[in-house]
């Protein structure tokens, strides 16, 4: 089958799995996960075939694998959609397919497949564990299987569809479709345990916060589409189209259409990749099951935001020669600021997953900042390595939590927070595979020199920032790298090193193979993914392997951007901050007894409280946005305007009409019309009544009246004739 046709098919198998599981196999757990993993494996296989084909294609950037079909008519033209794989797409497809596969398999173990149903488990709440009796009649507390097991696989299958669709799209509209489908899955999966109040809140918060970015992004699509008549990358990012966009002024003075559209699209990234100021949803998203955190909130969906701006790099940099670097400057600022800002918060978190969540915001900030300073390849490179090591770390943390929960089942102390790192310690002995892989992930995250993938990609960003003279960005990023190494060392030390601080940690248990195998797989990538992008002029190692990544991905832009000349400053900085941070973190946290406070809390004082409360952003937004808007909707718009004003006017008109009717009846109908009628009728009657006295029926009286009449008339006649002359 030609690769173009295969490309179309990549997203579809998981979609089939989604529908089949929900409609038919819900009650059969085994069939459901077999379907989900099996069909994902089909997608994975196709992705690998396409990837291999793409790598072997010469001049892939000029002649990407693509095909398209008309989707709907718009006036006299047709809107076409299609699939496309160019170097950037191929690399993204590669890491997406692998992380998806690893996390799907991991979910089987994570949701306790094969364990009994819990006696008290209800759908919508995490399983509480069950009791089982072994052959010798001893009763054991064992983990229980997730009640909504099949549904979980249906949702992550739909998610896989969304992500793969986004990657293979050749245009911004289907990218947006995939983008939003993932948003829905993110919502559904954060709220997977919807019985928990915190989870349902977090789900809504995630959906709405990202939607803020999404509506801007939609306007960005509308802008580009209206200006150019297309949304497909190849046409959109061609020189002529970009030149026209740069020359067209937008509705906002001083901004070209290109800059406006770039800003709008970037807003989408800010929402999806949880950059400041829309970062608030990601830490709360940790309410979801851990595979979800790894998949959606570390490796793929949040990376899609960065993918978008990397994809739209030509648009963002268009017009740079005219000096309009406003958009890029903003991107660099938001990225660098988020990187540092989130890293500081991560210092003060005790929840193992929340540390990773802030770390994700911080690392995504790195990539965003890299795009902002024009380091296209470095951003894509960090996107790739981060996906692997952050997925690894999340899955590792899930394994740790699972291990501690095992201990909880053993002691029966369900009050214990199994995610609190201060309740752990010494897990390296109980969970060796998890420890080893987590260590690799942690070192990669901190940029441990030479052997980890994170080092190479982070170093490249720093080198680019330094080499292109973005000193402020360079210093900010270096500082956050120091913090990153520190909190990573803190995390590893608190979790795995030293002695167990609780009974539960003492009885922790290594996870099943379906969970550890993906960890091992990802840790291989967390090391090896860096080798494809070792700079050529790197002392000693440079040139041993070709800098394949730079040439391959760089060619997407037409001509590969020139590699920055080697400089010792960023290299030494990057090595220095990584080692210092790791060393300091280990020194500070290596001997924390049970119940002891965080030493850093004492050192930082009130600042630590500020960090622990995430700079009070949640409270701040609640105060200035959520409450006023709610008041506006409930009270102002509904009660005051609709019920009060508009309905008031209507009722007023109604009352006026009724009043008029009443008036007509009282003032006109009754006195005039009825009055006239009455006058005629009543008058006649009254006259009759008064005349009635005349008609007594007595003959004498009639004769008397006749006589009087004759006398009067006779007297009258006589008088009148007498008057005549």
């Amino acid at each position: 089958m030609p690769l173009e046709a295969l490309l179309w098919l990549i997203p579809l198998p998981p979609l089939v799995a989604f529908f089949v599981i929900l409609l038919f196999t819900r009650s059969n757990r085994k069939l459901s996960h077999a379907l989900a993993i099996g069909l994902l494996a089909v997608s994975w296989l196709m992705a690998m075939i396409v990837f291999a084909g793409a790598v072997r294609t010469d001049g892939l950037a000029e002649h990407p694998i693509q095909s398209s079909i008309p989707w709907f008519p718009t006036g006299s033209t047709v809107f076409s959609v299609g699939a496309l794989i160019d170097p950037l797409g191929a690399v993204t497809l590669f890491f997406v397919a692998w992380t998806l596969l690893a996390i799907f398999v991991y979910s089987v173990g994570y949701h306790n497949f094969g364990q009994p149903n819990g006696e008290h488990d209800t759908p919508g709440l995490p399983p509480h564990g069950a009791h089982s009796r072994d052959a010798s009649g001893h009763e054991h507390s064992v983990p229980s299987v997730e009640p909504l097991y099949s549904r979980f696989f249906a949702f992550i299958s739909l998610f896989a569809f969304g992500m793969l669709l986004l990657v293979v799209s050749d245009n911004l509209l289907t990218l947006f479709v995939g983008w939003e489908v993932m948003g829905l899955c993110s919502y559904l999966l954060i709220g997977f345990w919807y019985g928990k109040d915190s989870a349902k809140r977090a789900a809504v918060k995630a959906f709405l916060t990202t939607r803020v970015g999404d509506v801007f992004m939609l306007l960005g699509l509308a802008t580009l589409y209206a200006q150019t008549g297309t949304l497909s990358y190849r046409t959109l990012f061609s020189h002529e189209v970009l030149a026209r966009l740069v020359e067209t002024p937008s509705y906002i003075p001083g901004l070209s259409m290109a800059a406006l559209a770039g800003l709008f699209l970037f807003m989408g990234t800010v929402g999806k990749s949880a950059q400041w100021p829309l970062h608030v949803w990601l830490p709360d998203a940790m309410e979801g099951p851990t595979p979800v955190s790894a998949l959606i909130h570390a490796a793929t969906m949040v990376s899609a935001g960065v993918y978008l701006i990397v994809r739209c790099f030509p648009l963002l940099t268009a017009g740079l020669e005219h000096g309009s670097s406003f958009t890029l400057g903003l991107i660099a600022f938001i990225g660098a600021f988020s990187a540092l800002f989130a890293a500081t918060i991560a210092l003060a978190q005790n929840d193992i997953k929340r540390v990773l969540a802030y770390s994700t915001i911080s690392q995504l900030g790195y990539m965003v900042a890299a795009v902002g300073i024009g380091a296209y390849v470095a951003a894509a490179f960090h996107l790739l390595t981060h996906a692997f090591f952050k997925a690894l770390l999340f899955l590792g943390s899930g394994s740790v939590i699972h291990g501690v929960e095992h201990g909880v089942l053993h002691t029966g102390n369900h009050q214990l927070d199994a995610q609190d790192m201060f309740k752990m310690g010494g897990l390296r002995r109980r969970m060796p595979i998890t420890f080893a892989t987590f260590l690799i992930g942690g070192l990669a995250l901190s940029g441990f020199p030479l052997i980890t993938a994170g080092f190479w990609s982070k170093d490249e960003i720093l080198a680019d920032a330094f080499g292109h003279g973005h000193l402020i960005v360079f210093i900010t990023l270096a500082l956050s790298a120091l913090l990153t190494a520190f909190y990573t060392a803190r995390q590893i030390t608190l979790t795995f090193l030293g002695e167990p601080r609780t009974e539960e940690a003492r009885h922790a248990h290594e996870s099943v193979w379906t969970m550890t195998a993906p960890l091992v797989l990802l840790s291989v990538f967390a090391i090896a993914a860096g080798w494809v992008g070792i700079p050529e002029h790197f002392p000693g190692l440079g040139g041993l392997l070709p800098n394949w990544f730079h040439e391959f991905v760089g060619s997407t832009l037409g001509e590969a951007p020139e590699a920055v000349p080697f400089s010792a400053v960023p290299l030494l900085t990057s090595i220095g901050v990584a080692l210092t941070g790791l060393g300091l973190g280990w020194l500070v946290y290596r001997r924390i007894p049970a119940g002891a406070p965080d030493p850093v809390a004492r050192a930082l004082g009130p600042l630590h409280t500020l960090l622990k409360n995430k700079y009070y952003f949640d409270e701040f937004y609640d105060l200035i946005l959520v409450r006023p808007l709610r008041w506006f909707g409930e009270t102002f718009v509904y009660q005051w305007v609709d019920r009060g004003l508009i309905d008031g006017i209507l009722h007023g008109i109604g009352r006026l009409a009724a009043g008029l009717g009443f008036f007509f009846r009282r003032a006109i109908d009754l006195p005039v019309i009825n009055g006239f009628g009455d006058l005629v009728g009543e008058g006649t009657k009254r006259a009759g009544r008064s005349l009635r006295v005349l008609q007594t029926g007595r003959v004498q009286q009639y004769l008397l009246i006749g006589l009087i009449n004759v006398a009067v008339v006779g007297a009258l006649l006589f008088y009148l004739s007498a008057l005549r002359p």
Binding site: T74, V181, K196, D197, K200, L221, A226
Partner: protein, 506 residues
Amino acid sequence: MDFITSHLLSLILFTPTVAAALLILLPRAQPKLLRWVALLASLVPLALSLVAWMRFDMFAGGFQFEELAGWYTSIGSNYHLGVDGLSLPMVLLTTLLTPLCILAAFSIQERVRVFLALFLLLETGMLGVFLSLDLLLFFVFWEVGLVPMYFLINQWGSKNRDYASLKFLIYTMGGSLGLLLAIQMLRLVVGTFDLPVLYERWPSLNQSLFGLPIGTVKTIAFWAFTIAFAIKVPVWPFHTWLPDAHTEAPTAGSMILAGVLLKLGAYGFLRLVLPLFPAQAQAFAWVLALLAVAAIVFGAFASWGQSDFKRLVAYSSVNHMGFVVLGIAAAAWARGTASAADAVIAMNGAVLQMFNHGLSAAGMFFLVGVLYERTHTRELNDFGGLFPLAPIYGGILIFTSMGSLGLPGLGGFVSEFLVVRGSWPIFPLFTAVAMLGLLLTGAYVLKAIQKVLHGAVNTRWKETALEIAPREVIAIAPLMLLMLVIGIWPAWLLNVINAAVSRLFG
């Protein structure tokens, strides 16, 4: 066969009336028989309109399947029917929703016969509006539809039905007074009620009338038409009848009210206002756009502020129909200018949004009704934690809500995107403000899902059988399927709409 093909539209139009008459002859005491007869009878117009859809030639201009017969010949009014690419989707929507509504109304227990007969009469009334090519006939059907709806709300509605039904009736009738006068005036000036003739002569009319400059007369007539249709759509601030009527109406009534009756107003804009008053529509398009944006934003806010499930869904209609009007306003403004291409896209979006909203709003009202029948409350705070008790219902509710929210992959997204795409270059400021409404759409939809489904298992309803019944699944499945199909492959519908819109407004 020949008779069928030459009188296709009349058959579509009057089969429901005949069926209603037939129902009256059937015994009152056999509700089951009555329901099935009504359901089967309502499938006939659906089948016939599918025939019309298949035989419709989208590339041919003008109206198709036309029928012309003398009616009130002495005043120049004829029985003139016909469809084009604007009305055919609406006819299909009507004939599709009616059987589903009847199926949903199977749970009605009291006075089944009258209910079903009124419902079928309502269908004739609505179809008549979409099919008429004669202004007087249009008006007659416009009013005919009101009466059954009034009784449906008034007789089968919930607590506050008297107020709601009266408000609905008086408001709509008040709006159509001006419409009637304006129609009479057009007839007086041009000498006919026939629409195709009016299209040709009226807009280009250029003499003073009644001692007034023609522009003034046309402007007055434009507003008479506009207000009548704006009330029906409804455009802010003429919308307050809607939450009351929708909330009090029985489930099937709310479905058809939101699904089709609101479209009559929007259709009036497309069929009458824009073609007959192009200059006035262009001049006042900004007013319409402003009110549309107000409907989008305030409708979303008001919806978000509700604690009554049904009222929340009712207000969502104000929000969604605002996008229809925004698209219409943008098209009215830009037609014939350099951005006519944008106008066509906006209009495509508006017509498609009419269809999509018909699907999603009917679905949402149906789902509210399913829950109401079982719990006898609509108060969101009484729910919560129903997902484990009714997982299938929950899944369907989430799906339909997402359709209403405009999730990409479902139909609503395509139409909202086209409206935004079309009106953004024409009314940048209005469209930007409308995006606030789009954001809030998410807020109220998620509020409903969260308040109904999410949370710890609800002990209050634990003993109630909440799960959706197979009959009800069948009633909503076609709507869900269509939402998905339009979201994935909108071309089958958009081709027809686009061809007509391009001819009329290109």
